[in-house]
Each structure stands twice: as structure tokens, then as C-alpha cells.
């Protein structure tokens, strides 16, 4: 076995594969920063080129591209409130306030360190615990998914606004927008009113770009002329505002570990993906933080948690792929197609028959993390140019890029129109104190929730409509226990904090 591991490491440790990883990561970071181009789309764009190379060169290039795009998307999320990919949506919450305070470079560096941390954590889990994690992930059925999503919706909707009803109502609006399109079971049209453009449902990219970027452009257009003629992004000359100190990194370590673990588990479960992981990790970090009041105003942990979690997905979504040959999401499916075309077997037999290529891939994954870190630090310096751009030029450019990005994915003019309509809706919502992020969370989670809830009900009908069958599932019981324990702990801490506030005033 040691021989096979060494052989795999040797295959990956070549100049060609190193250059391929560098090219893949660099292209990923740049493409990831372009709104509208998802990580999966970036991988899809590169796949045809990867076939010209040996598998040990082509596949690492794809993996590097995937990792690079996840970090690259956070730079625009932080600087201009425009997530390059949906996975960076949660990074906007604290990254953008940090940039507004002149700490954009610090936020990007934190995002980079968290991304590399999350990546490395999940890769190590993939290498050592792939089979174990795959078994845990497969124990998750529709009942467990339903509970997980309901919990995520309730907690993320409530924590993002005061009063909480506005966040929850925004989330329900997002769920309603997610309903538009064809019913997943009967294929009946829902709320489309005969518009063929709506049959496919509303795209995630127009939603994200419209509600986050375009609404912010409209809002900022209302600033004074003096503000509009100034710099687009505040830049602080203080060195401590442009770097992450060791003390700050250390204070974020518990968050990084928790978020990486969460991202790894979510990534191992087919169908959830990096966006869900990022939002769940953000909520978890806020609940666990001793200073939850700083979240949403520029907390470093608020950048670290979603970035560690969304990157942790990139390693662990290979777990069901490598262990069982089941791709966990679109990116994994694309990588599976590359494996198949390159003639590499995946699945249970791959480890026993010819594991050398898999060890080469593991090595490439770790190399890609190091390259991501080095190139990412370079990208921070490039991103600094954005600080000097006049605000009105940047705002108008964002609208142009937003329209191109929204058209790119589906080639639909309707999506371009939706971007600006959602931008207007977002502006109105913010004007009346309704947060837009829970709306996006509701929209993202709605299809997963509906599919699983209705599957549970179908399963219940096979048990003579007894929903109690879910309590016969060990995974459901374990998860419910963990949720009850976690909620009780959160409620207890909240109660203590509430008691502490009047005491401090006295």
C-alpha cells in the first residue's frame, strides 16, 4: 500500500501537474470573481482543455480551478457586494461592511486563509475518513434533510433582522419565488401564468446579483455627489487594517474548525452544496460567538465561517464520488465525467483494484491548497486597484457586468430583466427595513426542502400514512437529539445575555 501511495505522490509531483494546478487555480480565482460564472461553470469551461493532458495533469487543473473559483468569488463579494458565485453570498454579510470600514484587504485575506483552512481540513478528512464519512452521509435520508433545512430556514431567518418577523417574512417571500416553475412531482405549472420563461423557475444568479449587487448600486446612487465622486471603496492606511494578525487568526480558529467540519459533512451529503454550507456555518458562528452583536457589522468570524465552510465542501463532495461513484453536486458530476473520459475508475472497487490514481489526486488537492494561498495573496494586491476607482464609475460598471453575468448562464434576456427588477425590489425591501439575505436563503433552500418533505410524505404513505416511521431511523433520532441540545444551549445563553444587560445598566 505504501508503494501505491508513493507512486501516486510521484505522479502528482511533476512540473507539468504543478503548472496545471497553478493555471487552474489562477483561472479559477479570476473566473470566480466574475458575477454569473459559478464554480461549476468555471470547471465546465475548462473540461475540454483538460483532455489534452495526462490525467495527472488535467484533473488537478480542474480541481485547482474549482478551489480557486470559490476563493475568487469572495473578493467581489467583499469589495462590491457582488458574489462571484452563489457560494460567496454569505461572505457579503460581514465582508462588505469590513470593506466599507476601509478593511477590505483584511477581509479578503481572512477569506483566503479561511478558504485554504477549510479546503485543507476537508481534503485531510477525504484522505483519512472518506469511507466513514460516506457511510454517515448515506445514512441521511429525506427525513433528516427536511429537519436540517427547516432548522436552517428558521434560525437564519430569525437571526438576520430585528424585529425577527421581517427576516422570517423575507425568507417566506424567497420560498415563494422558489415555488415559481414546474412542480417537482406532477410537473404542473405553478405561478407561471403561462409565461414560458418562468417554467424553468427563477434562476439563482439573477436573484443573487439583483438583490445583493444591483439593489446596493441603486441605494448608493442616492448618496451625495461628493460621495459619488470619491473613491469607490474606502482604503485605510493603517497596516493593522490591511492584514490579519496572529491574534485575530487565533481568535477565529474555533470558528474555522467548526465551519470546516460543518462544510465537510454538508459536502459529503449529495445535493446540498457550498452555498447552503456557507449560510449554515455563518448562522452557527453567530450563535457560538461571544459577540453576536458584531455580526453583520464587520466581524472577521463572519467572513471566516462561510469561507471555510464553502471551501470545505470542495474536498468532501469528492467523498461520495470517490467512495461510491455518486457525484454530490454539479461540480462533482463534471469532475466525474473528466475521470471517466480519462479512464480513471472511481467507486468502491477503485480503492482495492488500482488506488494509485486516487493517491495522485489526493496529493494534487493538497498542492492546489498551497497554490491557492500563494496566488490568493497576489490577488489581494491586484484587488487593491479597485480601491482607487471612482465610486460612480464602479457603480455603473457593476450594472454592466451584472447584466452580462446574468445573461451568461442561461442565455436569457428575461434573466437580465429580472436582475434589475430584483434590484428594485431589494431597494424597496431595504428601504422598509426588510433584510434581503433571508430571502435568498429561502430561495436557495426551497427546492431541497420541498423535494425532501414531499418524499417523506410519500414514504409515510407506504407505512399507512404513519409519519412516525421517521423515529425508527437512527440518523433522524441522532440529529433531532443534537438539534434539541443545540437549541436548548442557544436559548440558555440568550437568556443569560438578556439577564446580563439590565445588570450591567444598574
Amino acid at each position: 500500500m505504501i508503494d501505491q501511495i508513493l507512486e501516486g505522490v510521484q505522479l502528482a509531483f511533476t512540473l507539468e501537474s504543478f503548472i496545471a494546478i497553478v493555471l487552474g487555480v489562477a483561472a479559477g480565482q479570476l473566473l470566480g470573481a466574475i458575477p454569473g460564472l459559478t464554480a461549476s461553470m468555471a470547471v465546465a469551461l475548462l473540461i475540454p482543455y483538460s483532455f489534452y493532458f495526462e490525467p495527472w495533469v488535467g484533473i488537478p487543473m480542474l480541481l485547482g480551478m474549482f478551489k480557486g473559483s470559490l476563493f475568487g468569488s469572495s473578493t467581489t463579494a467583499i469589495l462590491i457586494r457582488t458574489p462571484g458565485t452563489p457560494a460567496a453570498s454569505a461572505t457579503v454579510l460581514d465582508g462588505y461592511p469590513l470593506a466599507q470600514q476601509g478593511k477590505g484587504a483584511k477581509a479578503i485575506k481572512m477569506a483566503l486563509y479561511a478558504s485554504v483552512f477549510g479546503d485543507s481540513f476537508s481534503d485531510i478528512c477525504l484522505i483519512f475518513f472518506a469511507s466513514l464519512l460516506a457511510i454517515v452521509a448515506l445514512a441521511f435520508g429525506p427525513a433528516e434533510y427536511t429537519v436540517l433545512i427547516v432548522l436552517a430556514l428558521a434560525s437564519l431567518g430569525m437571526l438576520s433582522s430585528k424585529p425577527a418577523w421581517k427576516g422570517l417574512l423575507a425568507m417566506l417571500l424567497g420560498v415563494t419565488i422558489g415555488i415559481i416553475g414546474l412542480d417537482p412531482i406532477t410537473a404542473t405549472e405553478r405561478l407561471t401564468f403561462g409565461n414560458p420563461e418562468l417554467e424553468e423557475g427563477i434562476g439563482l444568479i439573477p436573484m443573487l446579483i439583483g438583490f445583493l449587487a444591483v439593489s446596493e448600486v441603486f441605494r448608493q446612487m442616492g448618496s451625495s455627489l461628493a460621495d459619488l465622486s470619491g473613491r469607490a471603496i474606502r482604503y485605510s492606511d493603517k497596516p493593522e487594517d490591511n492584514r490579519v494578525s496572529m491574534a485575530e487568526f487565533r481568535s477565529c480558529l474555533p470558528t474555522l474548525f467548526r465551519a470546516s467540519a460543518l462544510g465537510t459533512v454538508i459536502g459529503a451529503m449529495p445535493g446540498l452544496g457550498s452555498t447552503v454550507a456557507a449560510f449554515l456555518a455563518y448562522g452557527q458562528a453567530r450563535r457560538a460567538s461571544p459577540h453576536p452583536e458584531q455580526f453583520g457589522k464587520g466581524a472577521l468570524e463572519g467572513v471566516a465561517a462561510p469561507e471555510a465552510a464553502n471551501n470545505a465542501v470542495s474536498g468532501s463532495n469528492l467523498i461520495p464520488l470517490l467512495a461510491f461513484g455518486i457525484p454530490g453536486d454539479i461540480a462533482a458530476a463534471l469532475i466525474l465525467s473528466a475521470f471517466m473520459i480519462q479512464g480513471i475508475n472511481v467507486g468502491p472497487l477503485a480503492f482495492s483494484e488500482n488506488p494509485t490514481p486516487l493517491y495522485a489526486i489526493y496529493t494534487a488537492l493538497l498542492m492546489a491548497n498551497a497554490v491557492n494561498l500563494v496566488l490568493g495573496l497576489g490577488l489581494v494586491h491586484v484587488a487593491k486597484f479597485a480601491f482607487a476607482v471612482p465610486r460612480r464609475l464602479l457603480l455603473s460598471s457593476v450594472l454592466i457586468v451584472a447584466s452580462a453575468g446574468s445573461y451568461a448562464l442561461r442565455g436569457s434576456l428575461f434573466d437580465v430583466q429580472l436582475v434589475f427588477i430584483f434590484g428594485l425590489l431589494g431597494l424597496i425591501m431595504v428601504r422598509f427595513g426588510f433584510p434581503t439575505v433571508p430571502l435568498l436563503i429561502g430561495f436557495i433552500l426551497m427546492p431541497i426542502l420541498e423535494e425532501n418533505l414531499r418524499t417523506v410524505l410519500l414514504l409515510a404513505s407506504t407505512y399507512d400514512a404513519h409519519l412516525l416511521f421517521v423515529f425508527e431511523r437512527p440518523a433522524f433520532l441522532t440529529m433531532s437529539g443534537l438539534i434539541v441540545a443545540g437549541t436548548s444551549l442557544f436559548a440558555w445563553r440568550r437568556w443569560r445575555r438578556r439577564r446580563a444587560v439590565p445588570d450591567e445598566r444598574q
Binding site: 417566506l172 447584466s403 428601504r431
Partner: protein, 173 residues
């Protein structure tokens, strides 16, 4: 919470409640047709999810209104620090004329310019208009900057990534 703030919230709740009731009574029946005989054994009818969402929204607003009536705003004085909203979450005051102009320009761009003139021409018209609305009066920023930005976006998408941008219907038909 002052009387005015509470009244404003009541007004918001009443308006939204009315909208949700209309959604439930008018929009859902008009927009979702359930297949006949489709029930819980088949995995719930298509209208189940929108109806459930509407019920949840109505319940949420009724509970909030009742809480406001009975207890005022329970979260105001001894509030949990975790409840304090961040900058994104607060109301942003009145919309300025410039923001409204921006919205109108963007809607004209997406609904009329891009479909008829295409991405490049439409963007070359939108960007200077936006810059003008934001107080830019110098010739170079009004002409050269938009050309550079639009050209860069076009080159990136169409040439480098081979992704088509909206073509001009007027010129192609």
C-alpha cells in the same frame, strides 16, 4: 418604541397581511391547478407549498401584531445584543431622486435597449447616462471609460470565454 414607529409597523403589517390574503385567495387559485384526486398519498398537491407559505406568513404577522398590541415591543429596552441589526438590515431613509433615476434607466436598459440594440450598444448608452445622473460632467469619463468597460466585458465573455452576450434584434432581423 415610539407611537409613530409602532403605528408604522402596524401599517406595514396590515398592508402585507392584505397582500398575503390576496395571494392566498386570488393568486394561488389562478396560478396553480391541482390535478384531480391528488392528495397526501401522492406526495401532496402542487398548491400545498404556496398555501403553506401563505398560512405561515399570515400566522407570523398576526402573532407580531398581537405581540405589539399586548406587550409593545418586547425586544427594545433589555434587548439581546444579538438582535441589534447590522447596517444592511436597517431602513435607509428616503430614496433620492438619483436612485429613482438609476432604477428607471436600468429598467429602460433591460426592457428596451438590450433586447433591441444588443448588449454592447445598450451598455454604451446606459453607462454615460448613469454617470451623468451621478454628477459626472467631464468628457473623457463620459466617453472613454464606458467604451473601455464595455469593450473589456465583451472581450472577456465573447472572445475569451466564448459566451454569447445579448445580440441586437434590430440589426439582425
Amino acid at each position: 418604541m415610539t407611537f409613530n414607529a409602532r403605528s408604522a409597523e402596524f401599517f406595514q403589517l396590515a398592508a402585507l397581511l392584505l397582500a398575503v390574503v390576496l395571494f392566498y385567495l386570488v393568486v394561488i387559485p389562478a396560478g396553480v391547478t391541482d390535478p384531480e384526486g391528488f392528495g397526501i398519498d401522492e406526495g401532496l398537491p402542487p398548491s400545498f407549498s404556496p398555501r403553506l407559505v401563505a398560512w405561515m406568513a399570515m400566522a407570523l404577522m398576526v402573532v407580531r401584531a398581537a405581540t405589539l398590541l399586548l406587550f409593545g415591543d418586547p425586544t427594545s429596552p433589555g434587548a439581546d445584543p444579538a438582535d441589534v441589526p447590522g447596517p444592511e438590515r436597517q431602513g435607509d431613509g428616503d430614496l433620492s431622486t438619483r436612485a429613482v433615476i438609476g432604477v428607471v434607466l436600468a429598467l429602460v436598459y433591460s426592457l428596451a435597449l438590450v433586447p433591441h440594440l444588443g448588449f454592447v450598444t445598450g451598455s454604451l448608452l446606459l453607462m454615460p447616462a448613469l454617470l451623468l445622473a451621478m454628477g459626472e460632467r467631464r468628457f473623457v469619463p463620459l466617453t472613454i471609460y464606458p467604451a473601455i468597460v464595455v469593450l473589456a466585458v465583451w472581450a472577456l465573455f465573447e472572445q475569451l470565454l466564448a459566451i454569447r452576450l445579448p445580440p441586437a434584434a434590430l440589426f439582425t432581423s
